[in-house]
């Protein structure tokens, strides 16, 4: 059963359609990436799931049942526009927000201590939020979001504003949360993080869902039979141009590389056979398109 499902969710604002029949399915205990260019409707979808924005048509199902306001209180939600009370002290505020999520004060204190130590921000406890930098405040907000160990976590652009070191810390924690049983949905522009983290993705453009599925399946779907060969020997490979097309050749660390597209009616084994006769092969692998490539290609195709 899916942890979360949206069925033909549609939302119109006064002068444009923000979401047009968007249906996605999020498996339990998986990480689901919501991709799309700016203004595609990602945040609107997230806000509809959180019942912050109402939808015009469609359904949101949580574990197969229509989502209710009480369910929302159990979701860990990190909004795109981060907000904390500026004048309140970090620790006090974290405890307050945790208590609003239904944690007892002592549990909140205990768990906060663990997380503050983990993120090495224990010394901020008595600082006011307005004294923190944007990135620091985001760390606090991330902790507050996950503290009550929700089964469903929704992060809107969780990596924006973080330096690479903190992005990595955050990625590790997101993976940990998944491994501990949580289902995670996040929207992002950070394609590298999508490749590393996501089990499934959905690509939204111009308020429509244009692509969704398991990440390796999508990569395979969009692969174009290109292989990369690393070798010693001849500078130029001699190949039958009817069967193989050399896209590019380059030299790196004393080795030669070629990217070769296999044209119709032949296989990678045939390619390897041809090459083996000419050079000493060091490496041979299929080139899968990066999510970044797929993203750009799909967005351009559908925007046209």
């Amino acid at each position: 059963m899916q942890a979360l499902q949206t069925i033909e969710v549609t939302k119109r604002f006064s002068n444009h359609t923000a979401l047009n029949k968007v249906s996605v399915e999020v498996d339990e205990q998986s990480i689901f990436g919501l991709l799309g260019p700016n203004g595609a409707g990602k945040t609107t979808l997230i806000r509809i799931i959180n019942m912050i924005t109402s939808m015009d048509h469609g359904q949101v199902l949580l574990k197969g049942k229509p989502i209710k306001p009480d369910d929302i209180r159990q979701i860990g939600y990190l909004p795109e526009e981060r907000g904390l009370y500026k004048k309140m002290k970090v620790g006090e505020q974290a405890v307050y927000l945790a208590q609003l999520k239904g944690m007892s004060r002592s549990d909140a204190l205990k768990n906060l201590k663990i997380w503050f130590d983990k993120f090495e921000i224990g010394s901020w406890w008595n600082k006011k939020v307005e004294e923190l930098s944007k990135g620091m405040a985001q760390k606090v907000q991330f902790i507050v979001t996950i503290l009550h160990q929700p089964q469903l976590l929704i992060f809107d652009e969780p990596f924006s504003g973080f330096d690479p070191i903190n992005v990595n810390i955050l990625k590790d924690e997101i993976l940990n949360l998944r491994n501990e049983g949580a289902t995670i949905i996040f929207s992002t522009h950070n394609m590298a993080s999508v490749e590393e983290l996501c089990d499934h993705i959905a690509l939204i453009n111009n308020s429509k869902l244009i692509l969704t599925g398991e990440i390796h399946e999508i990569k395979n779907r969009f692969k174009s039979n290109i292989f990369e060969v690393g070798y010693h020997g001849l500078k130029d490979l001699l190949l039958d141009e009817d069967q193989f097309q050399v896209i590019e050749s380059f030299q790196k660390n004393g080795e030669l590389f070629s990217k070769i597209r296999i044209l119709q009616n032949t296989t990678s084994n045939e390619l390897l056979k041809h090459i083996l006769q000419q050079v000493e092969v060091v490496s041979f692998q299929e080139v899968l398109p990066s999510i970044n490539d797929i993203f750009i290609q799909q967005v351009n195709d559908t925007s046209r």
Partner: protein
């Protein structure tokens, strides 16, 4: 713990811990107490000991008329000015009053020598006695016996007596009541606006901060709104009660330390005489003021103040919360603030009319309509209001704030999560009709 309690707790604690709250809480009673104590203290300090005044009266007209006062004693001296200055100032007495003979038929100049600044009550007493003497002399010069004038002077003491429905008679003291009525009305106005504005500010802060999205994922919008309103109401009550207790405390402690006896009230009376120079407030009148304050039943005044503050505050605070939730920018709130504030401002503007005729139909109507009743009713209460009117006004006020809270809840719920929309009355009407 219940979530709404958590919100109330946060709203309350963050505000009462603020420096501005603590400063206001201490400063308020100090100012009020200072207004009561300072005049008494000033005369008390300067007149802390008995003053002996040597009177060198070359005219012989005045001495007999100086009567010993509680803290001012007079004695007659006859030697020359310089000798007496020495003996009086560095010997037996404290001051020397020198009234020289002048060329004019009536002396109008006198000199008061002292090593220290003489108190206001000394100078004013001396002045008033001398004035009286000279007036009498002038009358005599015209051949009129001052006694005749005295007996011709009519002292009208008009006491208005209100006959209650049950036939009981009660003396009413209109002027003091007017003062108290206007003070109470203005205080209500001030409290409603001050704490209503805090609600508006708090809601807008949450919306502009976007923290509201996080909180709305934990609690219902209505809980957040009510938590804030109730939390701030408690802050207002705390401030009000602290003001009352602290003022009382300061007054009592002050009495204990400095030992201002009730007699200092006489002193106040004398001072009033001094300041008023001529248009004498006699001590009896002052006692009367305290009588009235006592007869007003302070307990009932405080209770009705609390009720009308809470009722009026809840009514307006929920509207302010709705405004804060609806708008994005501080500037946008103005167009909605004005119509909401007009009834309050109107009630204050009508205060003159109301205290003049506290039982006029305008006053009765304004004290029934929930939007104006907190101010108007507080202004009427010192004059006595029939019980059934108070009950009716109270019930209407409660119904009124239930209605505005319900209305505000609907606007707030939608508005608080709405960004970037130009909000006008049509939009708000649409939100109201949403189920």
């Amino acid at each position: 713990m219940n979530k709404i309690l958590l919100i109330i707790q946060r709203e309350y604690l963050t505000r009462v811990k603020k420096k501005s709250f603590i400063i206001m809480t201490i400063l308020g009673p100090l100012l009020i107490a200072a207004m009561i104590i300072l005049p008494a203290m000033l005369s008390e300090l300067s007149e802390s000991s008995e003053k002996k005044i040597a009177v060198l009266d070359e005219t012989g007209l005045f001495f007999e008329r100086f009567n010993d006062q509680e803290k001012i004693k007079f004695y007659h001296v006859y030697e020359g000015l310089n000798t007496e200055k020495e003996t009086a100032l560095y010997g037996e007495g404290d001051l020397l009053l020198y009234i020289p003979i002048t060329q004019l038929s009536l002396p109008v100049n006198a000199q008061l020598f002292s090593t220290k600044q003489p108190g206001l009550n000394v100078t004013s007493y001396v002045k008033s006695v001398m004035k009286k003497v000279i007036e009498d002399e002038k009358l005599k010069a015209q051949g009129i016996d001052p006694e005749i004038i005295k007996s011709a002077k009519a002292d009208i003491n008009l006491s208005t007596i209100r006959v209650e429905d049950d036939g009981a008679e009660k003396e009413s003291y209109t002027e003091v009541e007017v003062g108290i009525a206007i003070f109470a009305g203005i205080m209500i106005y001030f409290f409603i606006f001050m704490f209503g504005a805090q609600v508006l500010k708090g809601v807008m802060e949450e919306k502009q901060n976007r923290i509201v999205e996080v909180i709305i994922s934990s609690v219902k919008p209505f809980q957040l709104m009510m938590g804030k309103i109730v939390g701030i109401a408690l802050v207002g009550l705390t401030q009000f009660l602290l003001w009352i207790f602290l003022t009382g405390f300061i007054l009592i402690v002050f009495q204990g330390i400095v030992g201002i006896e009730p007699s200092s009230m006489d002193m106040l009376g004398q001072q009033g005489q001094a300041v008023g120079a001529g248009q004498s407030i006699d001590p009896e009148q002052l006692n009367m003021v305290f009588d009235i304050i006592g007869s007003l039943n302070l307990g009932a005044m405080v209770l009705s103040f609390i009720f009308y503050f809470l009722g009026g505050y809840l009514l307006y605070a929920s509207l302010f919360a709705a405004i804060g939730g609806a708008v994005d920018q501080d500037a946008d709130s103005q167009q909605f603030m004005l119509p909401v504030s007009i009834p309050l401002i109107f009630a204050v503007m009508m205060s003159g009319v109301i205290v003049n005729q506290p039982d006029s139909s305008l006053a009765i109507w304004l004290s029934m309509i929930p939007f104006t009743s907190p101010i108007t009713m507080m202004m009427r209460i010192p004059f006595g209001v029939p019980v059934e009117q108070i009950i009716a006004s109270g019930v209407l006020l409660i119904l009124g704030f239930i209605f505005t809270t319900w209305l505000a809840g609907k606007i707030y719920r939608t508005g608080i999560l709405m960004y970037g929309q130009k909000v006008n009355y049509a939009v708000i009407w649409k939100w109201l009709r949403q189920r």
